[in-house]
């Protein structure tokens, strides 16, 4: 058997790491997936190669995150390896080793925001963002679309790319009013430098295969055709599955496979998904076959019956309305941006961020400089209920000279009063005060 697209698989189940003994993010999580892939003979398919992950360095982490007090004390090796696995996937694709790559690594990352005090939604660092920013520094600028198909809103990825017009973030997820983390509203559209490039598609509980494919065909694909990304990343969470214990959606392995065939991502990264026996073995097999361009029609869960998981008319109508609203915002994004931000010189955004796993409440104020030459330097001032306080300045990759200068001034100024971080993405330099 020969793959139509060569595919690199970074399968790293980390059989010796867990958040805790009975936590869903435990050693057993990819055990049955590995069994299924072994029994299917995936490794004997010509054109599918297995790669070991590398290990991300602290520099790779600091390029994306402001870790408090620092990356070293928050992260374990497992996090550096999960991120290293995604970096390996980027290397495989961008160096031309394989056409596509899929990182089946754990723990996941899409709830990790730019500021990190601890674990949120089983994530500490955003493994996609660490991989992508590493790739941009190594292989040059690229326009990227991240399509997050995890059932939970990818609030971490949203935050990191909030003001980056070169990274289109599309998340479809179970409506935040019914599920963690609660965000992901249709009107969260991005910062002044990238308004409209953050696309949230909140779906009603019990959305099935039909609903996901409706959204894909009528919203995601048209937006992607419009945006014309150089590469597409699928944040491939698998908890929309009808057997997932933490969510209320009705997506199937066939649905996931068909989605990946149509979306045709260059890179996929496993995110959430905790139905480790009933879903993951089949969903992952389906995604792998779809990415490799092979027939996945035989990949069916043992308990799958279409009739049981067909979505109701009410859900169908709801999904259709959401699609229309999202499309409208996409098409009118420039007009809406003017209305939202007008001629303002800076935009301020206040937020609360809750770290469910670590039990920390964070308050932040973000300040985005509106710049006609570049996406603009931005600052986050943050403190939490444990008494921590910090400031972080981000100079974007394509910062103009003035924004860059200003970034260093802001850093000096902030460092005089509190612990401060500087990310100069234009020169790949990262600094911490004190």
């Amino acid at each position: 058997m020969k793959a139509k697209n060569t595919l690199g698989l970074i399968l790293f189940p980390a059989f010796d790491w867990a958040i805790s003994r009975s936590h869903p993010e435990r050693e057993e999580r990819l055990l049955y997936t590995q069994d299924q892939l072994l029994e299917e003979g995936i490794e004997d398919i010509e054109g599918i190669e297995f790669f070991n992950p590398g290990m991300a360095t602290l520099h790779d982490i600091n390029r994306v995150h402001f870790c408090f007090p620092d990356a070293q004390s928050l992260l374990t090796e497992s996090h550096l390896i999960a991120a290293g696995g995604v970096m390996r996937a980027f290397d495989a694709v961008l160096s031309g080793e394989t056409d596509k790559a899929f990182a089946l690594v754990r723990p996941p990352g899409h709830h990790a925001q730019r500021v990190v005090y601890g674990d949120r939604g089983f994530c500490i660092i955003n493994i996609e963002a660490v991989g992508l920013e590493y790739a941009r520094q190594r292989y040059g600028d690229m326009r990227v679309a991240i399509v997050d198909t995890d059932c939970h809103h990818g609030d971490g990825t949203e935050d990191i790319y909030w003001n980056d017009p070169d990274t289109l973030f599309i998340s479809f997820h179970q409506d935040g009013r019914t599920l963690y983390p609660g965000t992901g509203d249709i009107d969260e559209l991005g910062g002044p430098g990238a308004f409209g490039y953050n696309v949230n598609i909140p779906l009603p509980p019990n959305t099935g295969d039909a609903g996901f494919h409706y959204i894909l065909e009528n919203t995601v694909m048209p937006i992607l055709e419009d945006y014309k990304p150089d590469i597409i990343i699928n944040s491939a969470g698998q908890d929309n599955h009808y057997t997932d214990p933490l969510t209320n959606m009705n997506f199937s392995a066939q649905g996931y496979a068909a989605l990946n065939e149509r979306l045709n991502p260059d890179i996929a990264v496993l995110e959430g998904g905790y139905s480790i026996q009933g879903a993951l073995p089949y969903v992952n097999t389906g995604i792998i076959l779809a990415m490799a361009g092979l027939d996945y029609s035989g990949v069916v869960e043992p308990d799958y019956h279409l009739g049981k998981w067909r979505q109701s008319e009410r859900v169908t109508d709801h999904v259709r309305r959401i699609a229309e609203q999202v499309n409208e915002r996409w098409l009118k994004r420039e007009e809406l941006s003017k209305r939202e931000y007008g001629d303002r010189l800076t935009v301020t955004r206040r937020r609360q961020v809750y770290y469910d796993t670590a039990g920390i409440m964070e308050i932040q104020v973000q300040e985005f400089k509106v710049c006609s030459e570049c996406p603009g330097v931005n600052t986050v001032h943050s403190y939490n209920d444990r008494g921590a306080s910090m400031a972080g300045i981000t100079i974007p990759r394509k910062a103009c000279h003035a924004c860059r200068e200003e970034g260093y001034k802001l850093f000096e100024h902030a460092a005089a009063t509190k612990k401060s971080y500087l990310q100069d993405m234009s020169s790949d330099d990262y600094m911490v005060s004190r």
């Binding site: 059989f15 026996q277 996945y296």
Partner: protein
């Protein structure tokens, strides 16, 4: 006394070893019309030189099954497959008699869809239209739950002389390989059993009472009885015999080493890590078919003593083709062997002709004879060096699944090389320079294969899985599928695995001090249903009789 016999493509070698000392050896030509006669003549020749009554065991490394597969002399096999849900492989080169049945179990061996008995009736009707001798039954995940394979076998008992069940051949997961392995097993069964019966009969007539063991591709042996039920395990044992022979001939060190076996057409590379051989992760490939037959890892490269040497657009090329013998041995194609003869490193039957040919080729391309000959030999060494590097890159990138293994970063760095085969001794100096490593060419290396066959000990690997939620434990290699208690724990699993390996080893005639039973891999996973539910365990233990030697070869006094 142990007798070892290794049948290769052209030669058949025999060695008799008593108390670790080589007391006799023979070399014969293989008669491709009659493999049994070849082996028997070799054995008789050897026995005529020693005390027949002192023979304790006879070890055979044969190409009976290998040649049946490579030469396409395979019996027609009826195949019954339960492919279940998942990837649909197209099984080719397995004949026409394939029937697909519904029914499947999942990755934990839990019943998903039952076997439909009426389908079995239809299958029998269909299969019996073309009556054949052997049947192979393979179900997806049958190693996790062999129920369907067993029921199907029972149903067809009486219709076939030989029925192979997939789960009996390996405890490893890989459905397409399990299908191919079971098919090949059934397809060579009759040929191998015919050979084994002739062997038994001949031994009986000669009043030789010693048990017969057969070499496997993993460098171990299996008794004749075992080989008759799993003849596929006897394929490609020749290279493993040579490998084990070298282990017997050199001082064992716990270091990383490469073994180079230089043949006429190809050169085979083997590797040791900390003195332990590297195995194929799943199984060996034969005739383009990937199997689950456990085997030493080896890499064959298309360059050997008889490879064709020529210039192509000004560049020197060696192999991969071979056109008969070297000029120095009566052929007419320039070869690395001729270069070695020219340099005075090897003897040649047609030395003058060889010298002239090298001179002529050198003159044509503006070289001195010596320069050309040296160039050829160094090029060959360079190709071997590059091949070793490529293989090391691949082996060093082998997938790992735990943080501990990833951080340990066990990169293989050879510290020494052993070389055997026809031109081995003459090449070792050049190789030492190219590889910058010590290269040893052991004494008796020309019959390392027969010595290895004689001294290899029985091996066995088992894969235990215990699932305390389902209250079941399985060891497919031992046919064990038994109930366990919910409290069954990791330590008990390891102990049970070791005791099973020991029992199997003793049944194969190993003494207590030869058993060397060890745990190769072991892990226990907490299984939790939902949040905060009861914690069960999924325990996995791989254990083996460490492949090795019955004894080391000592120097005769």
């Amino acid at each position: 006394m142990i007798i070892g016999i290794d049948m290769g493509g052209t030669h058949i070698d025999g060695a008799a070893i008593e108390n670790g000392v080589l007391i006799a050896s023979v070399k014969h030509q293989v008669d491709h019309g009659n493999y049994f006669a070849s082996i028997w003549q070799c054995l008789e020749d050897l026995l005529s030189q020693v005390d027949k009554d002192a023979v304790e065991r006879i070890h055979l490394s044969t190409t009976i099954s290998t040649n049946a597969i490579i030469e396409g002399r395979l019996a027609d096999v009826a195949l019954i497959l339960q492919t279940g849900p998942g990837l649909q492989w197209h099984f080719e080169r397995m004949g026409e008699h394939i029937v697909y049945l519904s029914g499947s179990v999942d990755h934990r061996g839990i019943l998903v869809r039952n076997l439909d008995m009426t389908q079995l009736d239809d299958a029998r009707e269909q299969l019996l239209e073309n009556p054949v001798d052997a049947l192979a039954v393979i179900s997806k995940f049958s190693t996790r739950n062999p129920e369907f394979e067993r029921r199907i076998k029972k149903y067809f008992e009486g219709d076939y002389n030989e029925i192979t069940m997939g789960h009996t051949l390996s405890g490893k997961l890989n459905f397409p390989r399990r299908v191919r392995t079971a098919y090949l097993n059934a397809a060579v069964s009759r040929t191998f059993i015919g050979f084994a019966e002739s062997m038994r009969e001949a031994l009986r007539q000669s009043s030789i009472d010693a048990p017969v063991f057969v070499l496997k591709a993993d460098g171990g042996t299996v008794d004749l009885e075992g080989a008759m039920s799993k003849p596929v395990e006897t394929i490609l044992s020749g290279p493993a015999a040579s490998f084990m022979g070298v282990r017997a001939l050199v001082d064992d060190e716990r270091s990383d080493r490469v073994l180079i076996d230089v043949g006429g057409t190809t050169t085979d590379l083997f590797f040791l890590v900390d003195g332990v051989p590297v195995f194929e992760p799943l199984g060996i490939e034969i005739d383009g078919r990937k199997t689950l037959v456990r085997a030493l890892f080896s890499q064959s490269i298309g360059i050997g003593g008889d490879s064709h040497v020529r210039f192509e657009e000004g560049a020197l090329k060696i192999g991969p083709r071979r056109y008969g013998l070297p000029i120095a041995f009566g052929g007419d194609s320039m070869t690395p062997t001729d270069a070695l003869v020219y340099l005075g490193k090897l003897e040649g039957a047609y030395r003058d002709k060889c010298l002239q040919a090298v001179e002529r080729m050198a003159a044509e391309h503006g070289f001195e004879g010596v320069a050309l000959a040296e160039m050829i030999v160094r090029r060959m060494c360079e190709e071997i060096r590059q091949a070793i590097e490529r293989v090391l890159d691949k082996l060093n990138a082998s997938p790992v699944y735990t943080i501990e293994e990833l951080l340990r970063d066990r990169t293989i760095r050879p510290q020494a090389v052993e070389i055997i085969g026809g031109p081995a001794a003459s090449l070792s100096g050049y190789l030492e320079e190219t590889l910058c490593l010590p290269v040893y060419c052991p004494l008796h290396h020309e019959i390392a294969n027969a010595i290895g066959a004689a001294l290899a000990k029985p091996t066995l690997e088992i894969n235990l899985i215990a699932d305390t939620e389902r209250e079941k434990m399985s060891i497919p290699e031992r046919g064990i599928y038994m109930p366990i208690d919910r409290t069954f724990n990791w330590r008990e699993a390891e102990q049970f695995a070791l005791s099973q390996v020991r029992d199997a080893g003793k049944a194969l005639g190993l003494e207590e001090d030869q058993l060397d039973a060890e745990i190769v891999e072991s892990s226990s996973f907490n299984m939790v249903k939902g949040y905060g539910g009861r914690v069960d365990r999924n325990i996995r233990v791989k254990a083996q009789i460490k492949p090795g030697l019955l004894e080391k070869l000592r120097k005769s006094d």
